[in-house]
Every structure is written in C-alpha cells, then in structure tokens.
C-alpha cells in the first residue's frame, strides 16, 4: 500500500514516475484560465478546422489514444494563436486578461478592454469575435452600447 502525499508536502522533490509517452513531444499551452478565456473566441475562430477535426475524431472514438495526432495539431494551433496575440496585441491582450482575472472572469465586466482587444485582433490578425446562435438582426451581447449588466465597481 502506498499513501498519497501531495507534492508540496513531501520532503523529496516530486518526480512524476510515469514516463513521457512514446509520442512526438508537443509543448503545452501553459496559459492560465484568464488568458485562455480572453483568447477563447479567437482560438475558436483561428483554429476552427483543427478543433472541428479533433472533436469529430473524438466523436468517432473516445479513447485518448485515438486522437493524439489531431490533439497535437489543436495544441500547436492554440499556441500559435496566443503567440500571435502577444506579438501583435500585447498590451490589449494583457490588459483584458488581467481585467478578467480581477473581475471574476466575467466578460461583461471587462467590455472596455475587450473592445480594444477585439479591435486590435481584427486590425492586425483579421479575427472577429462571433457568438454563434445570436438571433439575426440583434446586436451581439459584446457590442451592446448601453447594457443593463455592466461593471459597477471601480
């Protein structure tokens, strides 16, 4: 019997005993939740093909072994996009995700920063934020000029 000790409590430094799988190495995205949430719609727009391909593959078979190749493409694409965002819209991106981090990760409380980021992403990368399923003829929620739900804190 071995009992589990959390890595931060153990005396010796934690070493993951399971080896790297016999698969080509792919760097992980390594972003925390706020930058990911900030970039989510751009990832959806930029990596649509890879994402759809991966999800169709997953629908075929849920075994993690089945879709490793597609999964690597998805990860590479996400890394690529985040790097592009950081190259072209560094300040806007950072301000938006820091705002999200600070505001409970709610989009409606960071519209000002979001508009700057969206504008930059459209100008430099040609990416638009689009929420699928918005009823035609209605302003999508992130472009409503005078919303009822807004950030009330300073």
């Amino acid at each position: 019997m071995s009992s589990y000790v959390t890595p931060d409590r153990s005396a010796a430094p934690y070493v993951d005993p399971t080896p790297e799988a016999t698969q080509p190495h792919v760097p992980e995205v390594g972003a925390t939740s706020a930058p990911l949430k900030s970039a989510a719609f751009f990832i959806g727009a930029y990596c649509k093909e890879y994402n759809d391909d991966f999800m169709l593959c997953k629908a075929e078979n849920r075994n993690p072994e089945h879709c490793l190749k597609e999964g690597r493409r998805v990860t590479r694409c996400a890394i690529d996009l985040i790097e592009k965002l950081r190259e072209n819209c560094a300040t806007e991106f950072q301000r938006h995700w820091e705002c999200l981090d600070f505001r409970n990760q709610e989009y409606y409380r960071c519209r000002k920063e979001e508009r700057l980021l969206n504008g930059c992403a459209f100008d430099k990368l040609g990416l638009t934020k689009k929420i699928p399923g918005t009823s035609p003829g209605k302003t999508p929620i992130h472009e409503v000029p005078n919303p009822i739900y807004r950030n009330v804190q300073k």
Binding site: I43, G44, N63, T134
Partner: protein, 116 residues
C-alpha cells in the same frame, strides 16, 4: 346687545389645503414605476441569457484544446500503468496485460488513477 357695526361674520369655511395628488394619480404612478421596472427586468433577463450563452461558447471553443491536453496525459498514464502491469505480472501464465474487463470496444475511462 351687539357691538356697534354688528358681529364679525362667522368663519365657517372649510380650510383644507392641497395635500398631494389624489388616489387615482398615486395608483397610476405606482403602476407606471412598476411597469418600467418590469420592462427593465425583462430586458435584463434577455441580456443575462445572452451573457450566459457567451460564456458557454467561450468554454466550447476551449474544449478541444483542454481535452487534447488531458488526453495526452491520460494516454501517458495509461501506457505507464500498462508497463507496470506487464512487469508485475510477467510470471503469471496466461495473463493478458491491459485487457478490458468489458466486452465491446467502447472506450471507458479508467475508474482509478494510481498516484505514486
């Protein structure tokens, strides 16, 4: 006897100064305020629904990336567990390492992970 010039006239007129709008106006006013409030509430509910949807779509767009990352880790652990099982059971005759306890090829995620 009356005083010269007669008595003063009696002040008997009612003195009721204007004390605010009448009942009907009050009722109408309250109704108007309520109507405005409910209208705003309705707009807010629609907006809330849209915000929820926006949030859900951000999750949907992130799902493939997170799933791919998790899959790689799950696969790595699976392979390691398989290697361990092979090592432990190498002397047992007829043991097939990593064989599913179920028939059928639908994937079932591991119920337990060994944390060493």
């Amino acid at each position: 006897m009356p005083p010269p010039g007669g008595y003063e006239t009696l002040k008997y007129k009612r003195n009721l100064p204007f004390r605010g709008p009448g009942g009907a106006v009050m009722v109408a006013g309250v109704a108007a305020v309520c109507a405005f409030g409910f209208w705003r509430l309705g707009l807010g509910n629609i907006e809330k629904r849209e915000l929820k949807r926006e949030n859900i779509w951000s999750r949907i767009y992130l799902t493939p990336m997170l799933l791919a990352e998790g899959d790689r880790d799950a696969y790595r652990r699976q392979q390691a567990a398989l290697a361990r099982e092979k090592e432990i059971m190498k002397d047992v005759k007829g043991w097939e390492a990593g064989r599913s306890v179920y028939h059928g090829d639908r994937h079932k995620p591991d119920q337990r992970i060994v944390l060493l």
